[in-house]
């Protein structure tokens, strides 16, 4: 090693703990970067693999009324381009176990062994082969839906008993959600049973109402049109299927959120590195001047310092790569347990790691390079004459009466105002990132509660086939009901602004009574259409724009009358007359019911379930409970991130504080020679760190709001809109925990001073 390099290395090795702390910040930033990109790749890849393996259908078609399967078969057989299809009978039902009732769906299918479309991946046991048998989607074993059980289901007043021969996985139900139309996967106990189609038809006396098709993307509309004779009520394309949407949302979140965090952390890391190196290089100015006087070129001198930057970046990057991989594994396993049972495929994807390395090396080398360039640009004379500035900020005489060690702590905080400001800024930013999780969690949760509270109905009834509206009102009106509002529910596509999206269509004259809609723009004009804000954003349309709504072969044209906030549904609301091109104006597929008193909910729900023609009864409180559960697990993750970010803030604070402590080791040694008790020295440090902690934590509060806003914008793009509000409790938490973690970082400088070798420190420092 050349003497110049040796000298720089020795100098920097003395600061090994500081360097390690900085490397850790770089590592964490890089780990987040890699985690975000790699997790997104895994999400995409896992879903693609699953879709491919299971031959996921390209189109899902639902009929409003079951038809004889020969009619559907004839219609499909006469359509070219279809690669394969399957005719099924899909019925909402109830699973009975241990005296409890759970929502369920029964799918009657012709051949469970089919591999060419929606293949069932066997997890345990065997596929059904004869009457009286069925398989359930895995994940609901806890409530009794498992292999070997004799299970009882009821649907449309008919009892269906099957022996479960095995559990399966299917891409159609990667997460089991009792609320199928929701944009978010709301968990809950939900059983999916596959059984023989003929047997189910025999039990219910129905034909088929569910068609899945494998067809090329550009031929899909043709296939749907060919079913013109059938009463199509829902058409969902592969990319709009909840499984695909959810996985894409997951990938999007990872792709956007984590790199955003990593950039903020890298900023923090870069500032820390810059602060340290600037100090080191400036202090070495005279030494650099001597080297220049000895004939060393500026380039050689710069290279010697830059080498250490390379080492720093390498250590940080290697640890970052490892951490990134581990974080990804952890996050994937956590996320997968949240969404259900899907095999996670870890693809060989070097790009996230290569990008991470470029990101990390680039940031470190720039922050090391700048101070080197500044000093090597000086002339030999300037470099030799350079004296590091030590400016003490006078804190006035008001404090001069206090103990001198305390005064030291107070003044040390501000002895280098510029550096203190930078340190406080960096720590404040880190605390802010941590606090932003609380802000996001609070805001999203609060807004969701607000949205749910907007619904005024207690029960929603879905019918197995449409019936006249007046009949709906007449059938469901009871003593306990305040209102019964019939609706027609469909699923299809909305086309507008040159884009197309999957959409749920709710047609009802009384829909405004069922919900206190929060208007974003326009008016609640159901004679045109009212659409949800996410839909408007995705399509790029606004009030007054023309839209086309397609449900199967039928379509209607209208304009957007209003845009409303809705985080649960991607929906279009219209009145019955406006929806007439899509459905029979006088018919309804269900009803919203409000009761005089919530206490009747369970009883009325049970009564309704027994009504003929009722396929499903949804209790509003179940949705709320489901959402509570969803957010419960999500909150756990958010609070986990909160703590992780605070730990990072602590590392950054420790790194900054230990830098200033090490620079003042001679002062600490002097205090020892004066016989100042250890407790007073620690007290002095605690004052300094405490003040830094208070200012940083205070600064962290607005940062938390700012970053919360930023994340909310990202979330709106990939998930849903929610307004950011900063609750006092969130402010307090950010401040309190921010302060606590910064204060906790004092353990490092305290430990350092406790182990200080007085004699050696005085000898070495005064020798210099």
């Amino acid at each position: 090693m050349k003497p110049i390099t040796k000298s720089v290395v020795r100098k920097l090795l003395k600061m090994k703990w500081r360097m390690m702390a900085i490397s850790l910040v770089v590592s964490l930033a890089m780990a987040m970067f890699v985690t975000g990109l790699y997790s997104a790749v895994i999400f995409d890849h896992s879903m693609e693999t699953f879709i491919e393996e299971t031959n996921f259908p390209d189109v899902f078609i639902r009929l409003s009324e079951p038809v004889d399967q020969s009619i559907a078969r004839d219609a499909l057989e006469n359509t070219s381009n279809i690669r394969s299809y399957s005719l099924r009978l899909k019925l909402d039902s109830i699973f009975h176990h241990g005296g409890e009732e759970y929502p369920a769906v029964i799918i009657g299918t012709e051949d469970p062994k089919r591999e060419d479309i929606s293949k069932l991946l066997l997890k345990d046991g065997a596929l059904f082969s004869r009457e009286g048998e069925g398989v359930v989607v895995s994940g609901m074993e806890d409530i009794g839906a498992k292999e070997g059980e004799r299970s009882r289901f009821t649907t449309l007043g008919v009892e269906v008993n099957v022996t479960v021969t095995g559990t399966v996985q299917t891409a159609e139900y990667i997460f089991a959600s009792p609320i199928e139309d929701a944009m978010l996967p709301l968990p809950g106990n939900f059983v999916v049973l596959f059984m023989d189609l003929g047997e189910l038809q025999e039990s219910t006396g129905l034909g088929i109402n569910d068609i899945i098709v494998k067809v090329d993307k550009d031929k899909r509309e043709g296939v749907v049109d060919s079913l013109g004779t059938l009463s199509v009520s829902e058409v969902v394309y592969q990319e709009d299927h909840p499984s695909v949407v959810f996985m894409e949302m997951g990938a999007g979140k990872m792709r956007n959120m984590f790199p955003l965090f990593s950039v903020i952390f890298m900023v923090v890391g870069v500032i820390s590195i810059f602060m340290t190196f600037y100090r080191v290089v400036m202090n070495d100015s005279r030494y650099i001047g001597v080297l220049m006087a000895l004939g060393y070129s500026r380039f050689k001198i710069a290279l010697a310092y830059l080498n250490f930057g390379v080492v720093l970046a390498t250590v940080g990057s290697l640890v970052g790569l490892l951490l990134g991989f581990l974080f990804t594994m952890g996050i994937m396993s956590y996320t997968i347990t949240m969404i259900g049972d899907i095999r996670v495929a870890y693809p060989v994807a070097p790009i996230p790691f290569v990008l991470g390395l470029i990101f990390s090396y680039g940031s470190v080398l720039v922050s090391v390079g700048i101070p080197i360039i500044v000093i090597t640009r000086k002339t030999v004379r300037q470099a030799l004459d350079h004296k590091p500035k030590t400016r003490i900020l006078t804190v006035g005489t008001a404090f001069s009466g206090i103990k001198k060690t305390r005064l030291m702590g107070l003044r040390n905080t501000f002895r280098n105002p510029a550096r203190t400001a930078l340190t406080v800024f960096v720590i404040g930013m880190s605390v802010g990132i941590a606090g932003s999780w609380i802000v996001v969690a609070d805001s999203a949760w609060g807004y969701m509660q607000e949205q749910v509270d907007q619904d005024t109905w207690d029960l929603r009834v879905d019918l197995s086939r449409p019936i006249p509206r007046e009949n709906v009102t007449g059938r469901f009106e009871m003593e306990e009901t305040e209102y019964v509002i019939p609706f027609s529910y469909m699923a299809g596509q909305i086309i507008g602004g040159g884009n197309s999206e999957n959409v749920n269509i709710v047609a009802s004259d009384g829909i405004l009574e069922t919900r206190d809609f929060e208007l974003e723009s326009g008016s609640l004009d159901l004679s045109r259409s009212v659409i949800t804000n996410k839909l408007a954003t995705e399509l790029g349309i606004s009030v007054g724009d023309r839209i086309t709504i397609r449900v199967g072969p039928k379509e209607m044209n209208t304009t957007v009358g209003g845009v409303v906030y809705d985080i649960l549904m991607q929906a279009v609301y219209v009145d019955g007359r406006t929806a007439s091109p899509l459905t029979n104006e006088s018919n309804a597929t269900g009803a919203y019911i409000k009761l005089h008193d919530k206490k009747y909910t369970e009883t009325v729900a049970e009564e309704l379930e027994d009504e003929e023609g009722v396929s499903k009864v949804t209790i509003q409180d179940d949705i709320i409970r489901s959402m509570d559960e969803t957010f419960g697990s999500a909150m756990g993750l958010l609070y986990f991130f909160f703590v992780i970010c605070l730990v990072i803030a602590m590392v950054i604070a420790a790194s900054a504080i230990i830098i200033s402590t090490m620079e003042r080791d001679l002062e600490f040694a002097t205090l020892e020679t004066l016989g100042i008790p250890k407790g007073q020295v620690i007290g002095s440090m605690l004052i300094e760190i405490g003040i830094l902690g208070i200012i940083s934590a205070l600064l962290g509060v607005p940062f938390a709001y700012l970053f919360g806003k930023l994340f909310a914008v990202v979330m709106e793009d990939i998930l849903y809109y929610f307004p950011v509000f900063f609750a006092f409790s969130a402010m307090l938490m950010t401040f309190f925990f921010g302060f606590l973690f910064v204060l906790a970082s004092s353990i490092f400088p305290i430990r350092y001073t406790s182990k200080l070798d007085i004699e050696r420190t005085i000898r070495e420092r005064t020798a210099n």
């Binding site: 003490i392 006078t394 001069s400 002895r415 040694a669 020679t673 100042i676 004699e759 005085i762």
Partner: protein, 225 residues
């Protein structure tokens, strides 16, 4: 009455793979109220001797008793107390605390030693005046010249009125006139308060103030001529 007793003191340092024996069976006896100077070439172990006496370094072997306390038997906390109550250090490079003013630096040495802030401020002011810096009490070290800083360091050590003052080149940065004045103050304190001084210096002019001058060579002390 003996204040310092050193017997067969050994101290060595590792320099790379090499062991440097600084003190090789050093003996020393200082009477209370004595002013003694130790001279010797650079690297002879003068500062090491001061550090050992002040309890900021420990010997490899030998007897080291100060004011009746056997230093090798004291823990870190007791050594701290020992330095606080009985030792006054004057460093060659002053070692002032840059965030404290001149008077506060002097007061720092009096913390936990003098009861009451007023008393502490009064005594600090008195010693600062003694070294001729009564008008510089509010200045920070970096606002003072080298000589002034040295005088603050001297005031800080003397204000404690310790049993033993250990001074490393205490007048290295002072002109002859100022040197004489400082040495006179020390002499006065020696006489009035019975303070004992062990001064390490190359400055032969100081010999006239000393009761004894010792020479440290090859790790051993002997009376100087």
């Amino acid at each position: 009455m003996t204040l310092v007793e050193i017997g067969d003191l050994h101290k060595s340092y590792m320099t790379g793979d090499e062991t440097t024996h600084v003190l090789r069976g050093t003996d020393l006896c200082l009477k209370k109220g004595e002013m003694v100077m130790v001279m010797g070439p650079s690297g002879s172990g003068k500062t090491t001797l001061l550090n050992l006496l002040g309890g900021i370094d420990s010997p490899d072997s030998g007897v080291l008793v100060v004011d009746g306390l056997r230093l090798s038997e004291l823990g870190r906390k007791e050594l701290n107390r020992f330095r606080r109550e009985r030792i006054g250090f004057i460093f060659q490079f002053y070692n002032l605390i840059p965030t404290l003013t001149a008077i506060e630096n002097v007061e720092l040495g009096l913390e936990n030693l003098v009861q009451g802030r007023k008393e502490s401020r009064k005594r600090a002011g008195k010693y600062l005046a003694m070294v001729g810096l009564s008008d510089k009490g509010g200045n920070y070290p970096q606002e003072l010249s080298g000589g002034e800083q040295q005088r603050v360091a001297i005031a800080r050590a003397l204000a404690k009125e310790p049993a033993l003052v250990l001074a490393d080149e205490p007048t290295g940065n002072l002109d002859e006139e100022r040197e004489g004045s400082i040495m006179n103050i020390m002499k006065e304190l020696q006489n009035k308060l019975g303070m004992t001084f062990l001064i390490v210096s190359h400055n032969t002019r100081l010999r006239k103030y000393m009761d004894r001058t010792l020479l440290l060579r090859h790790g051993k002390l002997r009376e100087g001529s």
